[in-house]
Amino acid sequence: MSAAPINTTKPPPEIGPVPIPVLAALLSFMVPGLGQIVQGYLSKNFVRLSKGCLFLVCIWGMFFYGYAKSHWRNVYLPHVQEVYLAEDQAAGRVGKAANFMGRPMPPLLGNLWNRPQYIMQFFAGLPAWPALWNYFLPDSTLFSKIQVSPGSVTDANAGSNFARRKHWEEYEAEDNRIQEEPGMGRLWDIYWIYTVLAGALNIMVIYDAYAGPVRFRKVKKHPGGGK
């Protein structure tokens, strides 16, 4: 992945401003490539439309492949920081909780610190967002079967660290059992890497939908050899 110019007989065609940039970026954020598909359709630009289809197939292909092969269990945001904060408070120290320069992080930041994969998975679009829903609304049954937030407790058990820890340890035990299955092993990690890559690549797709293809600034070469 180099920024070096390509030796081709003709330079890439000049690209004008893309239509509906903000809406297209939003569409590509939700569904990878949808913004480019709409832009291609509106501007009758077949390349842009086909690029959108490529983004959609490849990014969601990677995401769903990794997600499905992990038994639909690697996209989630846990509630662990709350437990660690309470344990640290009871012990009068900052040890287990994720912290920044000795100051404990707030629960959401701490949980992202404990599950950084979700930061990138979030950008894969709509199929990664039920995890956030379940994180913030544990009582809701809308997405209760998918992307369960380990350590989440219902209102009835609110404030119970025992219930939190039990829920998340059960989830972790099941993950460990799956990793010991024949045919899984280290592939477990490869599968979440697919989902993380999908999200990371979609950030470029969102940029492309908003501003068009990434153009690096042209370097002016002086006769003396310097830039």
Binding site: A4, P12, M184, L201
Partner: protein, 76 residues
């Protein structure tokens, strides 16, 4: 070299099968985000793949030669 009895499931060799897939997809999508012209997209993706495969292949060769030849020769 690849077998790892401590970790259940396939050996780490099975993991490497996924690398070419990732390299192709990442390069293709990265290039597609840089150009609005299929010819340039494919050329840029191909060049990126060659760079990455050359680099990773070099690292692999270095480690392979080191582990299979140099280490046994020194400590064998």
């Amino acid at each position: 070299m690849f077998a790892d009895a401590a970790i259940p499931g396939p050996t780490s060799l099975a993991v490497f099968i996924h690398f070419p897939i990732m390299i192709i997809l990442v390069n293709l999508l990265f290039s597609a985000a840089r150009y609005d012209d299929w010819r340039h997209i494919l050329l840029h993706a191909g060049r990126g793949m060659i760079y990455i495969i050359t680099f990773l292949g070099g690292v692999f060769l270095f480690l392979f030669v080191g582990l299979q030849i140099v280490v046994p020769w020194l400590f064998g």
